[in-house]
């Protein structure tokens, strides 16, 4: 039982397991902090069927016996809180929810009024406010008609932990007993704890209602051992586990509201191999970075922004060991992604509408510190693109494609996204929404060449590059110049046409041939009219290159890439947005 690793089984497959793992890690960290002088750490490692909580120093019996009481989470007080609570719990263990809410609303008001940075910094809400607000969504303390005080289930756990302060060592010992090996026997430990409390003369319940807050698949509902009756009810469990879940929530949960609705989404980090200290530092940055947003876009931004926060942390070299560990790996080797629970508001109550898992992008392999910079640029570009797609104004499908690529790793979804993003971009440019930007070829190359190496020969082929450039100069380049100023036609629908034809090799080659022929003819026409040629002709060698690639990789792959690169901006080409910099090209 006194060892350097403890275990938490993944019993429910939801973020309840993660909360428990983080809760145990926090408790063990507090014990180490009381007895270990100098450096110490606690690491959470995903071992498949369970989480292993590894300690820098093995726990000792003496530490457990003498461990000072640790109040790990605060009591959320409101107007209906029993005065005995405020008398019993030290003031630093109580949070006045209403006061914190007031502070949060003032901050939001200040943001709306574009207050100066210093004012905003002063009024910044507590970093845990969103968690408190989420707890409050299931009702805080209240008074019954007769004046009897009722504690909300979260506060009840905090209160029970606090009131068993003299028996902290017993609680700790039973938790260790339960988590000493995988597949711990909850019922047996609960029975042992109950027996021990009876011996000590303590009258206390050993069970607690499973809260939907920590256990999204176990909210109030029907669950009968025999299929002969149905009765709504709550499931109960060992209260110490529920308390640890409440503790763990503060170290991994990021609850947010879905913009424009009363619905909520809670993101909970799923660690693969993370030290608690680093986790907390990255989480703090992530909480600042993720704001309420629409449902799909928030999933995407959550994954992208957590990755950025993680890379920022590595880059700042606050933790040299972490940077060294990162080499040869990606952020997903430290945090796999996030459990996401969608709570649909039904007025007074809410229902769990979705339980899912959003992965962090898996296309990063950090081989050198430069790679971190490179990947951050790619993420920033993707984030800028995603931020400008409005989910409620026709961008829903685009965002769903992108989310399936980002989280599900589906390249097909990415190419569907790029194929649809082209027309979207052209529409936006038509409306002079120049803040909507295309991908850059450089970052597309990084994305594809680092994560999908077999496709590298396609991107390196001069024929492929020239034809992608021709597509670009027939679509977004003249669009940036403006319809009236461009010498060349804007070919609306070219991307969709190529995408449609790319199902079959021969049809794709025919479609591409038609485009090339008309492209060169248009060049000749403009040259005849103005005496100038602003873009290169497509050469027969380019055609030969692409036909060879289609034979080898198929029209779908080559077509997808041509569309992606054709609608991307080449940073080496100057003046996409300025007509003064159009270069004169001679054939």
């Amino acid at each position: 039982m006194y060892q350097d690793a403890y275990y938490v089984d993944k019993r429910t497959g939801t973020f309840g397991d993660v909360f428990l793992a983080y809760g145990l890690a926090t408790l063990l960290d507090s014990v180490l902090a009381s007895f270990v002088e100098g450096d110490h750490w606690v690491r959470i490692r995903d071992d498949g069927a369970y989480y292993a909580i590894e300690l820098s120093h093995p726990l000792q019996k003496e530490w457990v016996d003498k461990a000072p009481f640790q109040a790990l989470v605060p009591y959320l007080k409101n107007d209906a809180t029993d005065p005995r609570v405020t008398q019993t719990i030290p003031s630093n263990g109580i949070v006045d929810y209403e006061a914190e809410r007031e502070r949060y609303q003032q901050y939001r008001q200040a943001v709306k009024q574009k207050a100066p940075t210093e004012t905003l910094a002063q009024q910044k809400p507590h970093p845990d406010f969103q968690v408190w607000d989420w707890i409050r969504s299931e009702r805080l303390d209240y008074k019954k008609k007769g004046g009897q005080y009722v504690r909300c289930p979260y506060n009840d756990l905090v209160w029970r932990w606090q009131s068993l302060d003299p028996y902290f060592a017993e609680n700790l010992r039973h938790i260790l007993m339960l988590c000493a090996a995988p597949d711990g026997d909850v019922e047996a430990v609960e029975t042992a704890w109950r027996k021990r409390m009876k011996e000590l003369g303590v009258k206390v319940k050993s069970d607690a209602t499973l809260l939907q807050l920590f256990n999204p698949s176990q909210g109030k509902g029907l669950n009968e051992p025999k299929a002969s009756r149905l009765e709504m009810g709550n499931i109960k469990s060992f209260w110490l586990l529920e308390y640890l879940k409440a503790v763990g929530m503060y170290h991994c949960a990021v609850p947010r509201r879905v913009q424009g609705t009363d619905d909520r989404k809670t993101y909970a980090l799923a660690p693969v191999n993370m030290r608690l200290g680093i986790n907390d530092a990255v989480l703090a940055a992530f909480q600042d970075a993720l704001w309420n947003d629409t449902a799909v876009r928030m999933d995407i931004l959550a994954a992208l922004r957590y990755t950025t926060c993680f890379l920022d942390y590595c880059q700042a070299a606050k933790e040299a060991d972490l940077m060294a560990e990162l080499f040869g790996q990606g952020p997903e080797d430290f945090v796999a992604g996030m459990h996401v629970t969608y709570y649909k508001s039904l007025g007074q109550a809410s229902a769990v509408m979705n339980l899912s898992f959003i992965e962090l992008p898996r296309w990063m392999r950090v081989e050198s510190p430069n790679d971190v910079i490179l990947y951050k640029e790619v993420i920033e570009e993707h984030e800028n693109i995603i931020r400008n797609i409005d989910e409620d104004k026709g961008g829903y499908d685009l965002l769903v494609y992108y989310r399936d690529f980002l989280s599900g790793g589906k390249w097909k979804a990415f190419f569907d996204f790029t194929a649809d993003y082209g027309p979207f971009l052209m529409r936006e440019l038509d409306r002079e929404h120049h803040w909507v930007r295309p991908f850059t070829t450089k970052n597309l190359e990084v994305l594809i060449m680092k994560s999908n190496e077999p496709l590298a020969p396609i991107l390196e082929s001069p024929g492929f590059r020239n034809i992608a450039e021709a597509i670009r100069r027939s679509t977004i380049t003249p669009q940036y110049r403006g319809r009236s100023k461009s010498e060349y036609d804007i070919r609306y629908g070219l991307g969709q046409e190529l995408k449609r034809k790319s199902l079959y090799n021969d049809e794709f080659i025919v479609a591409l041939g038609d485009f090339m022929q008309s492209y060169n003819a248009e060049n000749a026409r403009v040259y005849e009219k103005t005496g100038k040629q602003y873009r290169r002709n497509i050469l027969t060698t380019d055609v030969e290159d692409v036909v060879r690639l289609v034979d080898k990789y198929g029209a779908t792959t080559v077509g997808n890439l041509l569309i992606a690169f054709g609608y991307a901006r080449d940073p080496r080409e100057e003046g996409l947005a300025s007509d003064q910099t159009v270069r004169e090209l001679t054939n």
Partner: protein, 241 residues
């Protein structure tokens, strides 16, 4: 001796974990030993009558069960409109409409079940296995692919479903084993104290959790390959040894 029956899932499989409530029903990937035994009992009653079912109850309870899981499982996350008992005191209808989370699993590849019947029960079990066309929730249909076969040794690809569990104060089932990567699913099974009368839904006798209905942590050889908002894709891990 083991009798092996190979089934193909022919619809999406959905079977709420015993840990979950109807408000957000995460599905198990595979039928539980409780569901498998109950399907056999159901087949016995439907084909041979109630008395035969009652007689079969004891030997079905004594069967060891192992499973060879399908190669892949893809779980779809959805929500459905459901009815739940109303909480209103003066309601016009006994049920209210609401929504709830539901998961449906596509089992890619066949699923084989292995049983250890006494020799004299093998033919009867073979007959019952051919009568089973769903496990767990009605609508999670399975098709028996061929007549069950007998083998002496249980092939390595099978996962024994007799995990460690507590019944009263007694620890039953397999000893703790070396853990491999995989994922745990909490599955129910018939407890030793379960009787035909308790399992009969037309009697008032209760099934007591932890005694009549025991919960086992079964380690399945799967790992999460990819997932997004709408799906999770699991792939089988190679079996150890």
């Amino acid at each position: 001796m083991w009798l092996i029956a190979e089934y193909q899932s022919v619809t999406l499989f959905s079977f709420r974990s015993g840990l979950a409530t109807t408000s957000a029903a995460k599905t198990l990937f595979l039928p539980t030993p409780f569901a498998i035994r109950t399907a056999l009992l159901d087949a016995a009653i439907r084909t041979n009558g109630r008395a035969a079912g009652q007689a079969a109850f004891e030997w079905i309870k004594g069967l060891s069960i192992a499973i060879c899981p399908p190669e892949r499982v893809v779980v779809t996350n959805l929500f459905a409109k459901i009815l739940k008992p109303t909480r209103k005191e003066e309601a016009e209808s006994a049920m209210d409409r609401t929504i709830a989370f539901r998961e449906y699993a596509q089992l890619v590849g066949s699923m084989a079940l292995a049983f250890s019947p006494a020799e004299e029960r093998a033919d009867e079990l073979r007959h019952l296995l051919s009568q089973v066309n769903y496990f767990g929730k009605r609508g999670s249909l399975f098709q028996l692919l061929k007549s069950p076969i007998e083998v002496e040794e249980l092939p390595k690809a099978f996962v024994c479903m007799d995990g460690t569990y507590l019944q009263g104060i007694q620890v039953n089932g397999e000893e703790k084993r070396h853990f491999v990567l995989g994922l745990i699913q909490m599955m129910d099974d018939w407890g030793k104290t379960l009787t035909f009368s308790k399992v009969n839904i037309y009697t008032d006798e209760k099934i007591v959790l932890g005694k009549d209905r025991v919960r086992k942590g079964i380690l399945l050889p799967y790992r999460l390959v990819r997932s997004s908002k709408g799906f999770s894709h699991y792939e089988q891990l190679p079996m150890p040894g």
